[in-house]
């Protein structure tokens, strides 16, 4: 499944809208991940506070969304944009790829909560595809 020009346009437009709140949105998406899919906490056993409102979770979520923002800027070659992160996930972090889907879902929920009616089905589709692409790139060096 590839991103059409229209998909890329919608992703870029949304990003411009949410960029000022990117840290909050990222923090909330990761908080939702922990709350809704508690098995994901296993990747954060080194965090002192694992509640949805944990400052460590919020900071890490902000970081993750920042990286997604990088992928948005380099949307014509996400593989190149996320190359280092792809290696990090393959050799250090080794997060099971199933979890990328879970975070994609909670990010979509968070975007929907922030954007309301602006998060139209077409915007939703574009982001679903884009996040699937990000997930593929992050897991492409796993084996």
């Amino acid at each position: 499944m590839t991103l059409s020009a229209h998909d890329k346009e919608l992703v870029a437009k949304t990003w411009t809208k949410i960029a000022p709140k990117a840290a909050q949105i990222g923090g909330e998406a990761l908080g939702r991940l922990i709350a809704v899919f508690p098995q994901t906490k296993t990747y954060f056993s080194h965090f002192a506070d694992l509640s949805a409102s944990s400052p460590q979770i919020k900071a890490h979520g902000a970081k993750v969304l920042g990286a997604i923002g990088q992928a948005v800027s380099g949307i014509d070659n996400v593989s190149a944009s996320l190359s280092k992160l792809s290696e990090l996930h393959a050799y250090n972090l080794r997060v099971d790829p199933a979890n990328f889907k879970l975070l994609a879902h909670t990010l979509l929920v968070t975007l929907s909560a922030y954007l309301g009616a602006e998060f139209t089905p077409e915007v939703h589709l574009a982001w679903d595809k884009f996040l699937a692409l990000v997930a593929t790139v992050l897991s492409e060096k796993y084996r």
Partner: protein, 147 residues
């Protein structure tokens, strides 16, 4: 039997009391058909469902979305016995409608996203967690009679 905490029951019923059933159903089903277009295969008798505009304006899609969310109300009224409540519906989806159970997951996800759009920040992570559990229970119940 599913064990529900008081908080989970509260999370489900408090949101349900405010849900616009027709709108939520329409949103959720529209999103399924747009975001996962292969699901259009089940709606060949609904007229034009080939693009986002057609889907959003299709009155059969709207009516069907409403029907699905109304049926969700039955599960919510019978949280301690969703399996039995949905036995006939499960059989219908398997034997008559021939719906791949994977689709129950997709609709569950888009319904959650539609609720987030309606409720915004009020759809907290804990409330979302309760609703995700409800969607999982509903999916399991609807898949029960498949063999």
């Amino acid at each position: 039997m599913v064990h529900w905490t008081d908080e989970e029951r509260q999370a489900i019923t408090s949101i349900w009391a405010e849900v616009n059933v027709e709108e939520a159903g329409h949103q959720a089903l529209t999103r399924v058909l747009v975001v996962y277009p292969w699901t259009q295969r089940y709606f060949s008798t609904f007229g034009n469902v080939s693009n986002a505009t057609a889907i959003a304006g299709n009155h059969m899609v709207r009516a069907h979305g409403k029907r699905v969310v109304v049926a969700l109300g039955d599960a919510i009224k019978n949280l301690d016995n969703v399996k039995a409540t949905y036995a006939k519906l499960s059989e219908l989806h398997s034997e008559k409608l021939h719906v791949d159970p994977e689709n129950f997951k997709l609709l569950g996800e888009t319904l959650i996203i539609s609720l987030a759009a309606q409720f915004g920040a009020a759809f907290t992570p804990d409330i979302q967690a309760a609703w995700q559990k409800l969607m999982a229970v509903v999916t399991a119940a609807l898949s029960k009679q498949y063999y």
